[in-house]
């Protein structure tokens, strides 16, 4: 594998990489958007600090709306604000929003094509000790089936900030997925980011790892490990799960002839499924999906959980070796 210099990734990626929660990017992105556009409003359902929407609230108290613990009403109120010209950001945990208020997202927002942005925090198993109830592992599946909705899974806080700003500047419904834990800062301010364009972070020829969220870092570590064993791997950050970048995914499969997907989400319905759909119709190759294997999580530390449920670099290495053999 060869790190793609055009991506201007963090130079300390493999040495002493700093760690920051991706949700910080949401908070910072909201403030930046708020400065630029007075119509940006932020709604939160009693999770102001942990969604980082408190940063917006402190800066623009008149444009912050406390909803109480009422996610269904929050989504609908956001739709009404959007139809009136506002750019509302709906902030909560992903298990509640879009989990609990999916019907409101479907009808009031997506069917209406209302300009609502949904920020789902604490997604994935890495939320850890809170246990299975709070580990959103289905949110990509339930959002990527909705017409008009774009689904974005940033890999770190810098990309999270860019995604938040890009979503706020684009017209139409967007879902943005963030994690609770501190994760390595892979990208820099100079790293390109465009909704709908998957980025090749490392180039290789034997296997393509197509990934998103915190698994992007695990994939880069895996690629480095694979290199030692003589396997050259490509790492694609497919941050936009919908609309999915058919061209880049197909090119990667064509070049490498084998694909592994890696995500912190149920193995059914998420990025792995989306990539499978693309390749089945365009360029089928041996493939393996890394993700939560159709089970619920449990309490534990993020690292323990990612290891136990098979979502880390060593699992990616094994999967890559397997698909390469199947070529």
């Amino acid at each position: 594998m060869k790190i793609n210099s055009e991506m201007k990734l963090n130079e300390k990626l493999f040495t002493n990489v700093e760690k920051v929660p991706s949700r910080d990017g949401y908070g910072k992105g909201l403030v930046e958007l708020g400065e630029k556009n007075k119509d940006v409003v932020v709604l939160c359902a009693d999770l102001t600090e942990s969604t980082r929407s408190n940063w917006f609230k402190e800066r623009f108290p008149q444009r912050f709306v406390q909803m109480g613990v009422a996610e269904q009403n929050m989504m609908g109120v956001a739709a009404g604000l959007a139809l009136s010209g506002k750019v509302p950001f709906v902030s909560s945990y992903a298990v509640f929003s879009p989990g609990r208020n999916w019907d409101q997202l479907r009808v009031s927002v997506c069917y209406t094509n209302a300009n609502v942005k949904v920020g789902g925090m604490h997604a994935g198993i890495s939320v850890g000790p809170d246990g299975a109830t709070h580990q959103a592992l289905e949110d990509i599946a339930i959002t990527r089936v909705l017409p008009n909705l774009r689904v974005i899974v940033p890999c770190d806080w810098i990309q999270g900030k860019k995604a938040t700003i890009a979503a706020g500047e684009a017209v139409g419904p967007h879902y943005l997925r963030f994690g609770r834990e501190k994760v390595p800062v892979i990208t820099t301010e100079q790293t390109p980011f465009e909704i709908g364009i998957a980025d090749i972070y490392a180039d290789g020829a034997d296997v393509a790892i197509i990934t998103c969220g915190l698994m992007v870092y695990e994939s880069l570590i895996a690629a480095k490990e694979l290199e030692k064993n003589g396997v050259s791997s490509m790492v694609v950050n497919c941050h936009t799960v919908k609309p999915i970048d058919i061209e880049t995914i197909t090119k990667a499969a064509r070049k490498c002839g084998a694909v592994v997907t890696a995500e912190e989400h149920q193995i059914n319905g998420g990025l792995g499924s989306a990539v499978s759909e693309v390749l089945v119709e365009n360029y089928p190759v041996p493939m393996k999906r890394i993700g939560m294997k159709d089970v619920f999580g449990e309490s534990g530390t993020p690292d323990e959980l990612l290891k136990k449920y098979g979502m880390n670099s060593s699992e990616i290495v094994k999967a890559c070796q397997e698909v390469v053999k199947r070529k």
């Binding site: 009403n73 609908g76 009404g80 139809l83 409101q104 009031s108």
Partner: protein, 284 residues
């Protein structure tokens, strides 16, 4: 220029009667749809669109218009018939209700046609959208008012309770909700299925101004809407006591007419009855 209001009570009654006849015609043609709710709410829609609202059917996106949201989307035949009567779109288009390639969807789709302020059907959603619009108007210090029409049955939805609490606590006095208190829902009478009483006390507990009114007395409805405009720091709910199926004897108060259309034969009988009522109004 805004829409010219109708002030004559007789003219308003005749308008409501026309709307009811067009509801029946469109439902017969559609061969599916809801009968009882639309007929029951024809007087409320008439009072709103032909007297109370500040709007312009020729300029549906006029920024200063009062906005109407429909939370119980299934009664949309009355919304369509009212908008057509007010001049938002041709009355002939009512005959496309629920048909392929029509703008008049079985449950409304936002801005199809212009004047339809929200998509809706799943109960409890419209009130939240209306609250969002009211909140936006407050933030922008805009003067237009927000109206939301809801059913009694949808008060059983959790979202509705969330919305009631939010609107009261946020003092949305630019919001006026009308509850179609017709006491029926799909499976039977509301008080048998899941009692909603004491409805007034629930709203009062959530800091709403409550007005109860005969939902078929257009003059009293207009008075209630005008009273709501004078209330500060509280949203207003008008609990409109209505008769489902109003105007058609065999539909009135029978919950079985909630979700079905009249057959062509039943439609003819219904239109004859409505025509007889029209004759009586004209003689008043």
């Amino acid at each position: 220029m805004t829409f010219k209001k109708i002030t004559s009570e007789k003219q308003l009654k005749l308008t409501a009667n026309t709307i009811r006849q067009n509801i029946i015609k469109s439902l017969v043609e559609a061969k599916s749809g809801h009968s009882a709710g639309p007929l029951g709410m024809a007087d409320v829609f008439t009072a709103l669109y032909f007297n109370v609202l500040k709007h312009d059917p020729k300029k549906p996106d006029w920024a200063e218009r009062d906005k109407v949201f429909l939370s119980n989307g299934h009664i949309c035949p009355v919304w369509y018939a009212t908008l057509a009567e007010a001049g938002y779109f041709p009355i002939t288009e009512l005959m496309t209700l629920r048909k392929l390639n029509s703008r008049l969807q079985g449950h409304p789709h936002y801005w199809e046609p212009p004047g339809i302020e929200n998509s809706g059907g799943p109960l409890g959603q419209g009130i939240s959208i209306a609250i969002g619009a009211a909140l936006s108007a407050k933030m922008n210090k805009e003067k237009h008012r927000i109206y939301c029409l809801t059913s009694d049955g949808e008060h059983q939805e959790g979202q509705y309770m969330e919305a009631m609490m939010f609107a009261g606590n946020n003092k949305l006095d630019n919001l006026c909700v009308v509850v179609d208190r017709n006491n029926i829902q799909i499976d039977g009478d509301t008080e048998d299925i899941m009692p909603l009483e004491p409805m007034r006390a629930k709203y009062e507990a959530d800091k709403w101004h409550v007005i109860e009114v005969d939902g078929h007395n257009i003059k009293h409805l207009i008075d209630a809407f005008e009273e709501a405009k004078t209330i500060h720091d509280m949203p207003t709910v008008i609990i409109a006591h209505t008769i489902p199926g109003k105007g058609v004897s065999f539909m009135e108060n029978d919950y079985q007419w909630h979700g079905k259309p009249p057959t062509p034969e039943q439609g003819e009988v219904a239109l004859r009855e409505l025509q007889e009522i029209r004759r009586q109004i004209e003689e008043e």
